[in-house]
């Protein structure tokens, strides 16, 4: 039984003639890190948004961890899907500190549980000592780690990463890729990563698929 199962997923905008995603079928097992490779405009970000519940598919269904989150009859709201996502530009809340950003999704926990989970996350992403900083006081790589920690803190079933390296300097990419791979492996999270750069995917993922128009080799 697959952990994440997507069947016949379709998505198109009402105004557009062609569909962004056309009968996409895909599955992955628990703990797997899968990369999705595609040109810009191939619908890879849309795919993540559909899984997260930020867009509604025009057809098809998505199951995560044996629960149907969207099909003809069902639509589970994003806050109830158990999906974590790291946005392309991280979307760290500018009015909250690092610790408060990470604690943001832990509102169901008691104060002490929350505190220990935040500490755990800070250690995981190696940001000890930065808890009280604001996002704009961090480097790009540090911001990314906060975003990963924030998304992982509530223990989602799956983590989605949207172009995680597009905002970083080229010469830093190698080191940061390695860091991220270690974080994800340590957390043992099921992860779906989207990128236009084959190197990103090679460095981090167990397996890669390509969507959109196939590029001739």
């Amino acid at each position: 039984m697959s952990y994440v199962e997507i069947r016949d997923l379709c998505f198109f905008y009402f105004s557009a003639k062609t569909s962004v995603i056309d009968n996409f079928t895909f599955s992955m097992s628990k703990g797997e890190i899968v990369g999705i490779l595609g040109e810009s405009g191939s619908g890879k970000s849309t795919l993540l948004r559909l899984i997260a519940g930020l867009e509604t598919p025009s057809g098809g269904r998505i199951r995560i961890s044996d629960r149907t989150v969207v099909d003809e009859k069902t639509f589970v709201a994003p806050e109830k899907r158990g999906v974590g996502m790291v946005f392309q530009d991280y979307a760290l809340f500018p009015h909250l500190t690092v610790a408060k950003n990470i604690a943001f999704g832990l509102h169901g926990l008691s104060r002490s549980e929350r505190k220990s989970r935040v500490r755990e996350m800070i250690e995981l992403v190696k940001l000890t000592g930065m808890e009280e900083r604001y996002p704009h006081e961090l480097s790009g790589g540090q911001q990314q780690r906060v975003a990963v920690a924030r998304a992982l803190a509530p223990k989602p079933d799956i983590l989605l990463l949207d172009e995680p390296f597009s905002n970083l300097d080229a010469d830093l990419k190698g080191a940061i890729r390695e860091e991220l791979r270690i974080i994800l492996k340590t957390a043992g999270i099921t992860c779906l990563l989207v990128s236009h750069d084959p190197q990103d995917i090679e460095a981090i993922c167990d397996r890669a698929i390509r969507i959109g128009t196939p590029v001739a080799r």
Binding site: A52, V83, F93, H95, G105, H107
Partner: protein, 550 residues
Amino acid sequence: MNYTRLIRNIRQYANGWLIMSVAAAAMVLLPLLAIALSIFFAPNENWIHITQYMVRDYVIQSVWLVLFTGAATTAVGGLLAWLIAAYDFPLKSFFRWALMLPLAVPPYIAAFTYGYMLSYTGVVQTTLRSWGIEPDQAWFDILSLPGAVFIFTMFLYPYVYLITRAFLERQCGSYIENARLLGRSPLSIFLKVVLPLSRPALAGGVTLVAFEVLSDYGVANYYGIQTFTTAIFKTWFGMYDIDSATRLAAWFMLCIVFVMLLERLLRRRRRYSATTGRYSPLFPKRLGGVSAALATLLCSVVLLLSFIFPVGQLLVWASWTFHDVAFTANFGLLTYNTVKVALIATALVMVFSVIVANTSRMLNNTVGIALAKTMTIGYSIPGAIIAIGVLSLFIALDRQLASLYRSLGWGESPLVLSLSLFMLIFAYVIRFMATGYNAVDSGFEKIGTKFAESARLLGLGMTRTFFKVDLPLIRGSLAGGIILTFVEVVKELPLAMLLRPFNFDTLSTKAYQYAGDERIFSAAVPSLAIICVSLASILLFHQLGKEVRS
């Protein structure tokens, strides 16, 4: 779309936010529907008289007023914007912000101030006579159509000036510098490059001016010009014929809708891509000698006429009457009434704006756009029409509730709602919803949806997301919206005149009453109070804008 999907979609979107938004949109639309329906009832005998003897002149006068004012504000506002944006001359940085000050003076206050200043006993003619000059009265005949155009131009040009200046300063530097490098003269750059490029900005400003002129009651009535708004007033208070007034309002509204559709249609074909939002600042060029002096002179003349002379005159009058007017219980009551009504209306406007703007951006579809459009419709509908719509709605409501009143022992079919202050507040909310809504909406646009989306994915529902993430991030825009809406309500005249409960006065209605009763000097104190509130808000808003940018 099949049935199961429909059910799913309804479940997905139907939450408290959507329900409240639809209710808010209905609240805005109901009074307008109430007016539109009146077309289908049989007219009474007054209507024949009105159509035969009044409508034609009123339409023509309204159209002239809007056209002349539009042309004049474009000229004054556009020219000043260009001078300030493209050139450097003595006192320029002072004029840059001072030229927006006339916005603090409501045109009806300016109208009676100028009316008296230029009269036989006014300061201008008495001064001339003291110099031994006996001027011809015809020179000072401001109580006329050209006079009204002058007043509207001098006190509404800042709309055009501010929008156009912002556009020129920020977005068209590269075009103008290119034109300069290509060897064009300043005049030819202005005519061939600046004017065509800033057409969208000019049009935006002039549209606001046109709405203000159409909505005006104070200036037209005081200067004896017959416009559609004064026609509605006359039918209502002169003939006590609300049915005909409603019918007039309905036709007026149809005209406005028609003009707006026409404008949309005309514009669709050519869109100016200049407003792409790409930042391309214009670096001002230094003027020297005669041209610098001329630029300073022009700005000074405009500022004197549009702010310093009238406000100075009001200050002088106020100093004569201050003790008789300001230190009375009545004046305290006026201020209290004004502030109370403005605060309640502003609070309601902001709450509804926030609810609908947030729903609209979360829906992100045609329903969302329709909701947003509905909320802002009030700004393009003149106050007198909204007043009639609200009144018809409330009278109908009172009729429906008559049995309830009877059971409460309030007598046979009394008018409870339609005699209450609630009606005026309701009308303010509809009329000025756009001011608050646009501020909130631009705040949301600035932060985008990504923060809200992250919060949702971290397990917060729409409401908690709003309070924990969106609200702190749009605080600045919210403050701006509150200030602007508050001032609009304080300055407002026609709605207050038409819908205030018996014996209820605000600063604006009292000032206008004093002026109408030839007690100009007494009108100065409440007028200055309004101007002070507006000035303070403008300066505060200006400061807020600076902080946001830095």
